[in-house]
């Protein structure tokens, strides 16, 4: 027998959960799942699927969380009814429940200590890849899958091919993980890394704080990735420990692991990036944008609604006012982030500048709550992850995407603006 070929992080996590010595890309395996999550957009379907199985089959519900985040707060009776059903189901089946205003699924799961390094986590949302920031294999699934996990504790997976992307150098002050992910979307295009697991590594990742690492992994959903995984380091382990997670079991790739391909980006020269209207992969540097006016500025979502994002915005807008005619809404990704921003005085800074805060949830991202609809021919600059026509309930409005720093700088000037032009100096570690 020859030596077993080196393995990627994904192959190792899936092998461990399949109780096999090793697995290889392309193989179908049945894995023990550590944690499952259901959001309110897919809860009706999940409960319908659950009802197709016998109720007595619900053996693994204690490792499931129901999260009321997309319709937070509910915009119509139908959404309120879904929430009622979820609360009822959670009580009966003894799952975890995160109610309106508690936060977005991808924030409350790590904050709640529900996952740790080396885990296998599934959720009914494409951005479940976010958990890779903690060296967990996180991926999006649907109702049949969750029902199956609640009944059997297991799920089938096709082991993905992996790609390795080395991010060397150091981001300049004013440039963030969001700019890296937008650059990657410009390069590989939407769905360009379909089915694949991305392993990001390198000095730029090591230097990132957890908030930025979550952005990096989260946005891989738009690349079509099945997972986006980082190695765990001391920062990861400390963060998980602070949030009451189980003992991390970090998983590293072998030196001779097989990757479909490897890529490299030195981020030191990277400028802030924006995705132009309608297409998440139509990406350019802010230096290439010529006086593009904006009327609406949004900070929030599972991509960029974290404390570091709110800090960036407050740093830019402290003691200043939004440009005339610009509206700005900030939606913290969770109640904990809201409270932290409150304690740091960030909410006072931004509210004084003219921004409004909303209950934690997905509201800033998708126009299903119908409480931040842009007007016809208005331009939105948002930290969200998707900008297709009509995403905010108005086909006649344009949505551009950028980092929280770029959104705040643009809200200040009224035009899409490189944040480095409005604040100088070293603001990364202030």
């Amino acid at each position: 027998m020859g030596k077993i070929m080196g393995k990627t992080i994904s192959e190792k996590i899936l092998a461990k959960h399949a109780k096999k010595e090793s697995v290889s890309a392309g193989e179908v395996v049945v894995c023990d799942v550590d944690f499952a999550m259901v959001t309110d957009t897919r809860a009706s379907n999940t409960i319908k699927m659950m009802n197709k199985l016998e109720k007595s089959a619900l053996k693994f519900t204690q490792n499931t969380a129901l999260v009321l985040d997309h319709y937070s707060p509910p915009p119509h009776p139908e959404a309120a009814e879904i929430h009622q059903k979820m609360r009822q189901f959670s009580d009966q089946a003894n799952t975890h429940l995160y109610d309106i205003g508690d936060g977005i699924c991808h924030q409350v799961l790590p904050e709640g200590g529900h996952l740790t390094s080396g885990d296998l986590v599934v959720g009914t949302d494409t951005h479940s890849v976010t958990y890779g920031a903690f060296n967990a294999f996180g991926t999006g699934i649907e109702g049949s899958d969750v029902a199956t996990v609640m009944a059997s504790g297991k799920l089938w997976f096709r082991v993905p091919e992996s790609v390795k992307i080395d991010l060397s150098g150091e981001l300049q002050p004013g440039v963030w993980a969001k700019d890296i992910t937008l650059y990657m979307l410009g390069k590989y295009k939407a769905e360009g890394l379909n089915y694949l697991a991305i392993e990001y590594g390198g000095t730029a990742v090591t230097k990132m704080d957890i908030d930025d690492r979550m952005t990096l992994c989260n946005h891989a959903a738009e690349l079509g990735a099945k997972a986006a995984i980082l190695e765990a380091d001391q920062k990861t382990i400390d963060w998980l420990s602070q949030h009451g997670a189980k003992t991390p079991q970090p998983v590293f790739a072998d030196q001779d692991a097989h990757y479909l391909f490897k890529d490299h980006l030195n981020v030191s020269e990277l400028a802030p990036q924006v995705a132009r209207k309608h297409h998440v992969d139509d990406v350019v540097g802010t230096d290439q944008i010529d006086r593009q006016a904006i009327q609406f500025a949004l900070i929030g979502t599972c991509t960029n609604g974290r404390l570091d994002d709110i800090r960036q915005a407050a740093h830019i807008l402290k003691g200043k006012k939004l440009a005339k005619g610009v509206r700005m809404i900030v939606t913290p990704a969770s109640r904990q982030i809201y409270l932290a921003a409150l304690r740091e005085g960030l909410i006072e800074i931004l509210t004084s500048a003219g921004a409004s805060f909303e209950a934690a949830g997905c509201g800033t991202c998708v126009g299903i709550t119908n409480h931040l609809v842009p007007g016809d021919s208005e331009t939105v600059i948002s930290t969200a992850n998707r900008n297709f026509k009509g995403r905010l309930s108005n086909d006649a409005a344009d949505i551009w995407l950028g980092s929280a720093a770029t959104v705040a700088a643009s809200a200040l000037t009224g035009f899409i603006t490189d944040p480095r032009q409005v604040v100088g100096g070293t603001w990364r570690n202030v």
């Binding site: 049949s144 059997s152 096709r158 379909n194 079509g224």
Partner: protein, 170 residues
């Protein structure tokens, strides 16, 4: 495993078909799957739903990334109502691919550039062979046997009900 053959007529769609927009009620609030099945894909190919419904179903042959962005199982339920027997495309959105398997809809990854509308195909899922009217056979890599088993039983919930121990060989 049964040597399942799929026989049907081809209906063509292009690249990057978003099934959330074209085959679900995500943007048709209050409408059910029955309704969606009468208008599905009409924005891309006018009359598509009517054509496939009046034929009593068929095989969809599409371009790359079929089911892009889609996280909705409802898309598969609608395709079942339309009696879509199988979908051929060079690649699928990964969530759609998974949902299709979990709901017992055969999908095949293959080069679809040479298919024409209205061809009668005969597909052997297990052997990985598509016979076209000219007598030619196009081969594709069959899905892994575990996935074929889930599809054969009509989806994941049927599979797990019948095989709570996850025994694919049974």
């Amino acid at each position: 495993m049964s040597n399942r053959l799929i026989q049907g007529k081809t209906f063509l769609l292009g690249d990057d078909v978003n099934t959330d927009i074209n085959c679900s009620s995500k943007y048709l609030p209050g409408k059910d799957s029955e309704f969606v099945s009468t208008v599905a894909f009409d924005k891309l190919v006018p009359g598509f739903a009517q054509n496939i419904n009046s034929n009593g179903g068929g095989i969809i042959v599409a371009g790359k990334h079929f089911g892009i962005n889609s996280s909705r199982e409802q898309a598969i339920h609608v395709l079942h109502i339309m009696k879509v027997q199988c979908i051929l495309a060079p690649s699928f959105g990964r969530q759609f691919f998974r949902n299709a398997i979990n709901n017992g809809l055969p999908i095949i990854e293959c080069d679809t550039s040479n298919f024409k509308a209205g061809q009668e195909l005969s597909i052997d899922l297990n052997q990985g062979a598509i016979s076209i009217p000219s007598g030619e056979t196009i081969s594709f890599t069959p899905l892994p046997k575990e996935i074929l088993k889930i599809i054969e039983l009509g989806g994941l919930l049927n599979f797990i009900t019948k095989h709570p121990d996850w025994n694919f060989a049974a």
